[in-house]
Amino acid sequence: MNYFIIGFYALLIGASSLAAYYQKRTPFVLLFSLTLVSFVMGIVGGESMLWAVTLLAGMIAFSAGVSYSFREFLVLILPRDLAKEMRTAPLTAGFGLFVIFTYAISGIFAPIIAPFGEAEVISSAFAPADENMLLGADQLGRDMFSRIIYGARNTVGLALLATILAFAMGATAGLYAATKGGKLDQLLGRIVDVIMSIPSLIFSLLLLSIFGTNTATLIIVIAIIYAPRVFRLARSVGGNVVVMDYIEAAKLRGEGTWYLIRKEILPNSSAPLIAEFGLEFCFVFLLVAGLSFLGLGIQPPTADWGSMVRENATLISFGEITPLIPAGAIALLTVAVNFVVDWMLYRSSGLKE
């Protein structure tokens, strides 16, 4: 028993008692379950486990703080109606927006932020971190930190392009099919059903084995695989709008299909479509990362998170966390986007009731 352990439990139990005394239900449940979890963890893992719990709690508290201040910052700078939305946003959404913002900055200003070029060999292979290299060197002696920064531009950029392309194809076709109905709608629906019954990773492996892996092919292949999902969603969202009487009124007025889509259907489908864009981006991003991890995505020497994990994977067996950094970068961004999407979906479903 040392001072750390005593202090650790004293703090937790004190805080939960305080919460109970003031009848704050939520904090009490949180704190008390943390205490119980720590008991178990402490017994199983000893003091080091308690340190890990402390560290984790600290990290969560820190990110909650960051999310809170970022949310308040957005409330201040955004125009009024958007600010009103932001004020009621959960902290997770604030966190997500903050992360997305950070990634966007590092992606756009990569050459300015990164101390070295993405393919620049500056030291020996797997050199440890020093004052020059924040995260050490990779298997060829390139600066890990610079490559992570460039990766934000390459990996995210490619996924974004592919998603936009998939959306342009899928949403247009989906809304068109919903508006037109009839034979064309059924035909497109069938085609989409077939494409979607091949698992996306498998389908992309098949196509990439045939067409080879350069950036353009990669984007097109991924867009083709994901466009059907967007189609299906746009078709169903559009389908819900098309049955509305105002669409019938516009049809009876003699309006053309293009007018119907642009003026009547799109404004009423935008909320779920935007949320879907976020979700789709996550899927595409994970697929790109997965393909790169398998060595079939973005090709070297371009810095890319998926391939960085693969190239440095051997370090794991020496207990180094280096390969986890690019993998974590991928996870963090998808988590962030998912948090924001979750909030948007909740909002749009809440408005309906």
Binding site: I198, L201, L207, S209, I210, G290, L294, G319, I330, T334
Partner: protein, 318 residues
């Protein structure tokens, strides 16, 4: 009952047609190769004689439709031709590996399905409480993380630092079941983490959806106790969505396994596929894709038939 049989048969027929169309796509994709397979295998420097010889050997001189039916006919009987790289029959390599993949998927499913459904019902009952919100954040995080991230985190903490489980999941036929389960625990756990999160969220959503329906309110107003509202009034109507959730995730387990197999160097069909793609060994790629697609379609089919069979409106027609 005639009605329901009809619907099920129709659904089965549709599944079969889909599978057929997919086999055409898989076969046809290879036909799209710039040049042909022979060109792709031998490269640009190949002489005309060599090319002609290989074409003769692969039967490329005949029309594509004839070769397609031959390929399909053989595939149905389990013969996928010979690997271009090793020249051994593809089926030899595939079947043991597919067995391994199924073993891993099953292992993960047996752990994941009960846990996920239990937790899903639990969070649905305690919706909008702290418990629910924490679960929401944790499951979202788990879904968002790439499998290799989860895999390496597990390896780092449970294998390298903790030393509880082996980091590499090498198995062979001679091993006992217990050994196998121990060796494959980490890859199974990786998949469990992703799948549980997914299933939990979907179960929660479908239960909450049902809890909002007027007949549940009616049951509560009739004085039915809370547990009975769930067991008697919600669950019988929840089967269809839950079956869908389970089937969808089983399909994921079988097909999403590729990355996990690579991380843990597990001798499954996913690894084989990745190797074949890298080496452009087309017969193997085609075979793997066909098997994956068939499994995927089969599970979706099972889900649809399951929800048809549990729908009271269809089971008891007017």
């Amino acid at each position: 009952m005639g009605d329901i049989l009809n619907i099920v048969l129709k659904r089965l027929g549709l599944g079969l047609v889909t599978l057929l169309v997919i086999s055409i796509i898989i076969f046809g994709a290879v036909e799209l190769l710039p040049g042909d397979i022979a060109q792709a295998v031998l490269g640009q420097g190949a002489t005309e004689e060599n090319l002609a010889a290989l074409r003769e050997q692969l039967g490329l001189n005949r029309a594509a439709p004839i070769r397609y039916f031959e390929w399909l006919g053989n595939a149905v009987t389990g013969d996928f031709g010979r690997s271009l790289v090793s020249q051994t029959p593809v089926s030899e390599a595939i079947f043991t590996r597919f067995g391994n993949t199924l073993f891993l998927a099953l292992y993960a499913a047996i752990i994941a399905v009960p846990v996920a459904i239990f937790l899903g019902v639990l969070v649905a009952l305690y919706r909008n409480t702290v418990f629910d919100r924490v679960a929401n954040v944790v499951t979202l995080t788990s879904i968002s993380s790439p499998e290799f991230f989860l895999g390496y985190v597990l390896i780092l903490f449970l294998a390298v630092k903790g030393g509880y489980f082996p980091a590499i999941a090498k198995i062979d036929d001679g091993m006992s079941l217990v050994d196998k389960l121990d060796r494959t625990f980490l890859p199974a756990l990786t998949m469990v983490l992703v799948v549980v999160a997914h299933m939990m969220r979907m179960t929660r959503a479908s239960i909450i959806n049902l809890l909002a329906s007027p007949y549940v309110e009616m049951a509560r107003l009739k004085g039915v106790p809370a547990w009975k509202v769930i067991v008697k009034h919600t669950l019988p109507n929840a089967w269809a969505p839950v079956i869908n959730v389970v089937a969808l995730n089983l399909a994921y387990l079988v097909t999403g396994v590729v990355l996990v197999e690579v991380v843990f160097v597990y001798p499954g069909i996913g690894q084989l596929l990745v190797d074949a793609v890298t080496k452009r060994d087309f017969p193997v790629v085609q075979a793997c894709c066909l098997i994956f697609a068939a499994t995927f379609i089969l599970l979706n089919l099972a889900a649809d038939v399951g929800s048809i069979l549990t729908n009271p409106r269809l089971r008891h027609p007017k």
